[in-house]
Symmetry: C2
Subunit: 223 residues, 2 copies
Amino acid sequence: MSPEKKITVKKQAYTVNDELADEIRFLMKEKKKLFFNIMGSVGAGKTLLLENLAQRLSKYHRIFVINGDIATTIDSDRIAQHGVKTVQINTGGGCHLNANLIHKELNKINLDNYDIFFAENVGNLICPAAWDIGAQLNVVVVSITEGEYVIKKHPIIFKNAEIAIINKCDLDGLGFDSDILVEDASKIKSSMKIIRTSAKTGTGVEELIAALGIKVPKGEEYA
Amino acid sequence: MSPEKKITVKKQAYTVNDELADEIRFLMKEKKKLFFNIMGSVGAGKTLLLENLAQRLSKYHRIFVINGDIATTIDSDRIAQHGVKTVQINTGGGCHLNANLIHKELNKINLDNYDIFFAENVGNLICPAAWDIGAQLNVVVVSITEGEYVIKKHPIIFKNAEIAIINKCDLDGLGFDSDILVEDASKIKSSMKIIRTSAKTGTGVEELIAALGIKVPKGEEYA
């Protein structure tokens, strides 16, 4: 296959994806639903953060979580324990979710039965950056154990995100440093909302809920 | 584009890649060179392990390291400090090395000037698994901070590797557990060589050198 042909094929795939992503975003907006794309490497803490969110939000909102992984239903099983609806997409060898996969799952349910949708993308800091899934906000999670260069080395996914979560901050100072990651994230995108969290202790989760624009009754923020 | 067309295009790409990978493997064998593919997620410790290997082996062997990343020359700069030749491949958004990228770099040098070649693949536990780069041994590195499910969730890359390194074992017991990862790796592939390391302290690096089949003068194993 000629290089020109290869590029054309790839462009076509992106165009189809982006149109479908826009359709999902339009539908969610029209129905006044929230839809968030949670990206990050394996072990960054995406699932544990979603467990925290599910636990705190499920008494006020009806939540639907789509978990992407190349194998197993571990993530959706973990999150489902907290009173929210989950569905696992196994991509086989696929390294990212895309708008078509999301569209298919949303078609199986009645959107009106839920208020907030989360997609936990496949654990990977590269490929998910290139595929719009129709979310209103893209969130990227890194943990401070991933090394001090992790943000510098992955500029694309940070450019395409609105919120950066610096996780595992309970280990801050124990041979790991969150400051350098906060600095790098703000250098890549000055408008980036940066939130330090520990999904293990729950630190920063309330701040994340506020940054996502999710309302909880006044006085019950720490329920 | 029809689904059949898409599959055909992908198959063609893999076929071309695999032929080139076989060519690289044949050439390396003929010239009695060693070539290793080091895979693993971002922050697993691939670069620090290669720094350890470079430091210990560079007085006995002429080493060439190809570093793959989507951006920056951080990794090759770090490894080059230890008296070995390095070259950085920036893939842009590309999520893995392939045989063509390796072939191009090898074509620029005289292979006879080196004994051992390492490729540090792009930080990602998914995509590198699908692309043969012509190495004689595939090594996958995970760190115990990546969570207890990291191997269960990525069976393909472990099936395609001969050596699994369980890294950051200096943190073993401090909220992290290496035993579960060792168990999962051996379940996926009973013939897998599994080595516990701490790239930070140097633990396990001698065992890794032996597993790679690299000779060092007797009595100087811990030099």
